[in-house]
């Protein structure tokens, strides 16, 4: 997966953790942006 199978044990482990870290940061940035855009609408809906 993602071509990391060819790496040695330690490098593969580090790559896996790196992928999880990058995914987490990308998701955080993406969802934060989404939250900022949708927050006013969501608040308006919740208050009615």
């Amino acid at each position: 997966m993602f071509g990391i199978e060819t790496l040695s044990g330690n490098a593969q482990a580090a790559a896996l953790i790196g992928i999880v870290l990058v995914e987490a940061i990308v998701l955080h940035v993406g969802y934060s942006g989404l939250t900022r855009i949708t927050a006013p609408t969501v608040k308006r809906v919740l208050r009615t």
């Binding site: 997966m1 482990a13 992928i19 870290l21 995914e23 987490a24 998701l27 919740l46």
Partner: protein, 347 residues
């Protein structure tokens, strides 16, 4: 249709489960490994993959939740770094005890019984405290704890006040103005690390109540600092498991996709919801987790597969109940605020 070798139904299940866990993690700063790993075990994944992938998921989620809590000023780095030192030592000693017990052939049984007793004990204590309404004006603790905000003495549990009275230098000044001896912090971190290493879990469900009840750290700072520490313990733990192929990205990626959204909701809820109203659900979730682990252990020991299913339903049910309570309370708080504003406007 398959993505990363996993069917769409499984991906949807993982994303949904991740969403629930993310809300809990974002709000309470715990609830990752003790919910995810048993669920993966019940789904038939090998122990190595269940524990390794659970840890990798906890690592990713704690990164996101820590960033959120940092932005809210709820991470005490001084406390976090001190805790990491004590916890690391504790984990090492805990692992040594496990290896010794393994040589004696007693590890499995003792660990399971300790896990159930500890999880159940903390759950019962938190539930009792919540029912008693302990701490603060009608029991609530201010969620808006900034760097310069002082904590009301009534909000600090009695046992924490007694521990804070032992003024052995050097003293640490924590967020909220709490002063505590570095040695106390290291001792609490060592004991929680010992239990964490002994039980093989992230330890948030031990450390978070310990930070609040034993050191007197305000709940939001306890949550944020606990998450900061889990970034390190989860990262190192998942790296060690990944070395032996214990981390499966087809499990971690969808779980993380759901939990990242949930963590946004959970972290935001800490600034809206009165924690005291939710604390009872936190306690009940821990009790549910203890019962689920006990059922799984009994099912495995006596060969009763139906108890595994009951355990799985309990885990999902507990996660659904408590994350639902967090979301419901947040919506109710927003509506109350709006009603108050409208009322004030009318006056």
């Amino acid at each position: 249709m398959e993505i990363l070798g996993v069917g769409l139904t499984m991906i949807a299940l993982f994303v949904g489960f991740g969403l629930l866990i993310g809300i809990l993690f974002g709000f309470f700063g715990m609830g990752g490994s003790f919910l995810v790993t048993p669920a993966l075990l019940v789904m038939g994944y090998p122990s190595r993959v269940a524990v390794g992938s659970g840890l990798a998921f906890v690592f990713g989620t704690s990164v996101i939740a820590t960033i959120k809590h940092r932005n809210l000023g709820q991470v005490d780095y001084k406390l976090g770094v001190s805790m990491i030192i004590g916890t690391t030592l504790g984990i090492e000693v805990g692992k040594e005890i496990v290896l010794h017990l393994e040589e004696l052939g007693m590890a499995g049984g003792i660990i399971s019984v300790t896990y159930v007793l500890l999880l159940g004990g903390i759950g019962a204590f938190v539930t009792y405290e919540a029912l008693k309404g302990n701490g603060g004006d009608d029991g609530g603790i201010d969620h808006d704890v900034g760097e310069d905000a002082d904590v009301d003495a009534d909000d600090i549990p009695d046992i924490a006040k007694r521990i804070q009275s032992y003024r052995v230098p050097p003293m640490l000044t924590l967020r909220g103005g709490v002063q505590v001896s570095l040695w106390t912090v290291l001792a609490v971190a060592f004991v929680t690390g010992l239990l964490s290493g002994f039980l093989g879990v992230g330890g948030g469900f031990i450390r978070m109540p310990a930070l609040f009840y034993l050191i007197g750290v305000p709940v939001p700072v306890a949550v944020g600092t606990d998450l900061f520490e889990i970034v390190f313990s989860g990262g190192i733990g998942s790296f060690l498991y990944a070395q032996s192929g214990g981390v499966d990205l087809s499990i971690v990626a969808p779980l993380l996709a759901g939990s990242a959204l949930g963590a946004q909701i959970g972290s935001a809820a800490t600034s809206i919801v009165d924690e005291e109203g939710i604390k009872i659900y936190f306690g009940l979730m821990l009790l549910g987790g203890a019962v689920a682990v006990a059922f799984r252990q009994i099912g495995e020991s006596f060969g009763i597969p139906v108890l595994n299913t009951v355990s799985f339903v309990l885990i999902i049910g507990a996660a659904l109940l408590v994350s639902g309570a967090v979301v419901y309370s947040s919506v109710a708080a927003v509506r109350r605020e709006e009603a108050g504003r409208t009322g004030a406007g009318a006056d």
